[in-house]
């Protein structure tokens, strides 16, 4: 068993920033990650980091843009923390040597991005995430922070009280991928989940193969509610064959979208008469799919993104990486022809419910970054707001877990404050299937002290691994693709009642199939069959919560569009969706969005671009 003050799970932007912050507060920190840190998917972020750095800009404007972009489902205390602290965090990165793109006077460059009232997106070419990830990993190396890489965290070590808000977290159990052994990591100060996205729930995604939402699923099974899971961002410009992302920076620099008839449809068909291509991402994605659905798509599938008119010099200076991606993954030359693009799953606005210090409803358990829902993005995230979230809230979680006094949080977690139960009957069974064998592995263990609890959880995890290796049954890959297919068919950009119900039925079948899952590779060395099989369980839990939230929310807000009610319904739905696992019986409930900020209240307005 390993022991540290703070254990960070995941080594992308949020995890690295959290580790650095915890260490600066004097904690002994370790990072546990299924990938080596530089392999993390933060490295694929392209566009940039929003920060109100300049005199003509202000954090208040950034906060206003973010609340509007969220379709008034962001929580003001979190949004304001993000916008106030992003500038100092960006400057911190620069002081750590991050190679930002520069202006003539040597200062860091900023460019326009969708939904922003000021060009406040700082960037490093079209590879901002890569530079940010490597810069922070350099700091981790410098500080000698312990990294356990290629360790797959299987579950959290959490006490078993009835009320989740009475539970406490004491560490994690993990599987050493190289050596094939299960071991425990005890954390006396706190565990910080920073496991990133969950794009593998869908089959056309910009996310990495490793983005299976492990942290969200683990926290959910331990009793932490998942928040706003139905809000999934579909990025308007991904390459049709692979889902590889083409940065919003292309449109930020002046790139134009055309349909098959050569019409600049964002204006000509009235989707966004003011901002055109630079409307918010959800608006552009719906516009593209509407074009395709109405017969104006190219090959009935995609539209064109044209940047030729920007000229070779500007493209090479600011968007060079895009040329390589389009060439390598779609065979298109962005200098001489338009690039084919279509919407693809990109980002989960929802995730593990936290307050603005990164704390969850369970004592000693934190979350930050894409796996968390604090919530700064609400119904829709603005481009350039993901990277600042990683560093602002990664730092906050790291500081708090290391014992820094940060005052009373304004955002409640768990069933405290003004929560209400959902009056929704799901016609399909959800949650646990049959008895919970070791393969299911949910719920917590009971023991007199933290050490005993860890020992018990290590033993359970070992049994689970042994069982998966010993049994005969189905391969996880077919179950995973069944989930991805139904989610992409039924819980996509356009959602309707029947499709959503269908997805829940399909997911039920997939859950049943999973009770027969088995790992056919018996090896103890680098057994990726085993890892993928455990990840598939996480995908199932997340997909179900996502479909449940989407079915219950009968309104159109941000990225969540419902055929049955194609308008925002502030009277009934200005509230966050929460889903609790309740030891295998998912429960849906709601809590109000917090629109009262420090200086003002963000009154919901019509959202047009």
């Amino acid at each position: 068993m390993y022991e540290h003050d703070v254990v960070v799970v995941g080594a992308g932007g949020a995890g690295l920033r959290a580790a650095i912050a915890a260490q600066e507060e004097g904690a002994d920190v370790a990072i546990v990650s299924k990938l080596h840190p530089v392999r993390s998917h933060t490295g694929a972020a392209e566009g940039g980091i929003n920060a109100a750095l300049r005199d003509a800009d202000s954090w208040e404007d950034h906060a206003y843009d973010t609340m509007k972009g969220s379709d008034y489902l962001g929580d003001a205390p979190a949004v304001e923390a993000l916008c106030k602290e992003s500038p100092e965090e960006v400057i911190q990165l620069e002081h750590w040597g991050m190679p930002f793109s520069r202006e003539e006077d040597g200062r860091v460059s900023q460019r326009p991005f969708g939904g922003l009232s000021f060009p406040r997106t700082t960037y490093a070419g079209a590879e901002t995430g890569h530079q940010m990830l490597h810069t922070m990993y350099e700091q981790v190396v410098k500080r000698g922070i312990t990294v356990y890489d290629e360790w797959h965290v299987m579950d959290l070590v959490v006490t078993d009280e009835d009320d989740p808000t009475d539970r406490s977290c004491h560490g994690v159990v993990a599987y050493d991928i190289q050596r094939g052994e299960v071991d425990g990591f005890r954390a006396s100060g706190g565990v910080i989940l920073a496991t990133g996205g969950m794009g593998q729930v869908f089959d056309h995604t910009t996310n990495a193969v490793a983005n299976t939402g492990d942290g969200v699923a683990m926290a959910y099974r331990a009793g932490v509610p998942m928040e706003d899971m139905e809000f999934i961002q579909f990025h308007p410009t991904t390459l049709p064959s692979t889902g590889v992302l083409i940065s919003e920076g292309v449109r930020g620099e002046g790139g134009i979208l055309y349909n098959e008839k050569g019409e600049r449809f964002m204006f000509e068909h009235g989707y966004a008469n003011n901002d055109g291509e630079l409307a918010s991402r959800d608006v552009v994605s719906r516009a593209e799919l509407t074009e395709v659905n109405e017969g104006r798509g190219i090959e009935d599938e995609y539209v064109h993104l044209d940047m030729r008119h920007l000229g070779e010099e500007r493209i090479l200076d600011r968007l060079e990486n895009i040329l390589h991606l389009a060439e390598d993954f779609e065979g298109a030359d962005g200098l001489t022809e338009p690039m084919p693009v279509k919407p693809g799953q990109h980002y989960a606005m929802g995730g593990i419910e936290t307050n603005e210090h990164g704390e969850t409803a369970i004592d000693g358990l934190y979350a930050a970054g894409e796996c968390a829902c604090v919530s700064v993005h609400g119904g829709n995230r603005l481009g350039g707001n993901a990277l600042p979230e990683l560093i602002v809230f990664g730092k906050r979680a790291g500081n708090h877990a290391a014992g820094k006094e940060m005052g009373e949080p304004e955002i409640p977690t768990g069933k405290t404050g003004d929560w209400e139960s959902a009056e929704y009957e799901f016609e399909v069974d959800v949650g646990t299937v049959g008895d919970r064998g070791p393969a299911a592995a949910d719920g917590g263990a009971v023991a007199a002290d933290a050490e005993g609890l860890l020992e018990a959880e290590i033993e359970r995890a070992r049994e689970r691994v042994e069982d998966l290796l010993a049994r005969k049954g189905r391969n996880h890959a077919e179950i995973r693709s069944a989930v991805q297919e139904t989610m992409t068919a039924n819980v996509n950009v356009f959602r309707e009642e029947e499709g959503l119900k269908q997805s829940l039925e399909d997911l039920r079948e997939a859950r049943e199939a999973y009770t027969e899952v088995a790992v056919s590779d018996p090896s103890r060395t680098f057994n990726t069959d085993l890892i993928h099989t455990m990840e598939t369980r996480n995908i199932l839990d997340i997909a179900e919560a996502l479909a449940m939230g989407a079915l219950a929310r009968r309104e159109f807000r941000g990225a969540h569009w419902r055929k049955e009610r194609q308008e925002r319904d502030d009277e009934n739905w200005l509230k966050h969706t929460l889903i609790s696992w309740n030891d295998g019986e998912p429960e849906l409930w709601y809590k109000p969005a917090i629109l009262e900020g420090e200086a003002k209240t963000y009154e919901p307005k019509v959202r047009s671009y």
Partner: protein, 298 residues
């Protein structure tokens, strides 16, 4: 050993038999039946597709290196052959994933982002170091030979031990250092566009270790820093924000016995770099800097 289609057929029968034995309630029964039929259809389709693929000219033949120290029968390295149906734009990684998910789930390789930025999937493809995710199948001669990176210890199948590579990367103090920051609150250090341009290519490294694997010198001298680590040193030594004192220290690091002077400018690292970093040029430039620096003290 050829493709594993027969095994696939066996599996179908097994699963069908198992499902029939358990059926507790009517709803469950109906769903189980529906599921079984769907599964059968899917398996049928897969088997047909695989058979068709094997017969069809439009399949790709991959010969993949296999080794597992843990499994009897795989302890002796061997090559397995997989026939994968070709689709337009298919990469080596796509083909490997298809082979794994369809024929043999124990086929093991690292991969994550699928877009040449995580650096996980450098392999030896038809005798050259390549990133599997950005190597198009239709640009390769068949059968395509896929092996783990040479000059590294094989962990299993296409996975190699990266520890030595990471140790070398971390041996060059790979983090920004400076003695002075701007006074003002929220003020960045200034950097000219020219200087940023100068270090730009060097900052693109994704730590895939293709360069290290291709380097003859690194193969013969285990302590040689290698192209990627020297490039990392270059990235900081050439960054004007660090200042002269720090540069002095950096030049001492790269001038050590197993540093830049080991490079014999064979350009193999530059040729294989999937991010087009002019590694050899960077090493040469550091040699020149070191010479200039030494002359200064004469």
């Amino acid at each position: 050993m050829s493709t594993q289609i027969p095994k696939q057929t066996e599996k179908t029968e097994e699963t069908a038999a198992e499902t029939e034995t358990e059926a507790p309630s009517k709803g469950d029964e109906r769903r189980a039946e529906k599921r079984r039929r769907a599964d059968e259809r899917r398996r049928q389709r897969e088997v047909e597709e695989a058979e068709k693929a094997a017969a069809d000219e439009n399949t790709v033949e991959l010969r993949v290196f296999r080794y597992d120290p843990d499994i009897e029968g795989k302890q002796e390295p061997r090559f397995d052959t997989f026939h994968v149906p070709f689709t337009k734009g298919m990469t080596v990684l796509d083909a490997l994933m298809y082979a794994r998910d369809t024929y043999d789930s124990s086929l093991t390789f690292r991969h994550s982002c699928r877009q040449a930025v995580c650096g996980s999937d450098a392999m030896f493809v038809n005798g050259g170091q390549k990133l599997a995710c950005k190597t198009q199948i239709d640009e390769l001669e068949e059968p395509i030979r896929v092996e783990p990176l040479p000059h590294a210890e094989v962990t299993k199948d296409l996975v190699v031990d990266m520890e030595h590579f990471y140790d070398q990367m971390e041996a060059v103090e790979p983090y920004f250092q400076t003695n002075e920051y701007p006074d003002g609150e929220l003020e960045e250090q200034r950097q000219s566009r020219e200087n940023r341009e100068k270090v730009k290519m060097s900052t693109r490294c994704i730590w895939c270790s293709a360069c290290m694997s291709s380097c003859n010198i690194a193969a013969g001298d285990n302590e040689y820093l290698g192209p990627a680590a020297i490039n990392k040193a270059y990235r900081f030594a050439m960054d004007e924000r660090e200042g002269e004192d720090v540069k002095q220290k950096r030049l001492e690091i790269i001038e050590q016995e197993h540093g830049v002077w080991r490079c014999q400018t064979q350009f193999s690292c530059t040729e294989v770099c999937p991010k087009d970093i002019p590694l050899t040029e960077h090493i040469q430039e550091l040699k020149r800097e070191a010479v200039k620096n030494n002359l200064k003290f004469w």
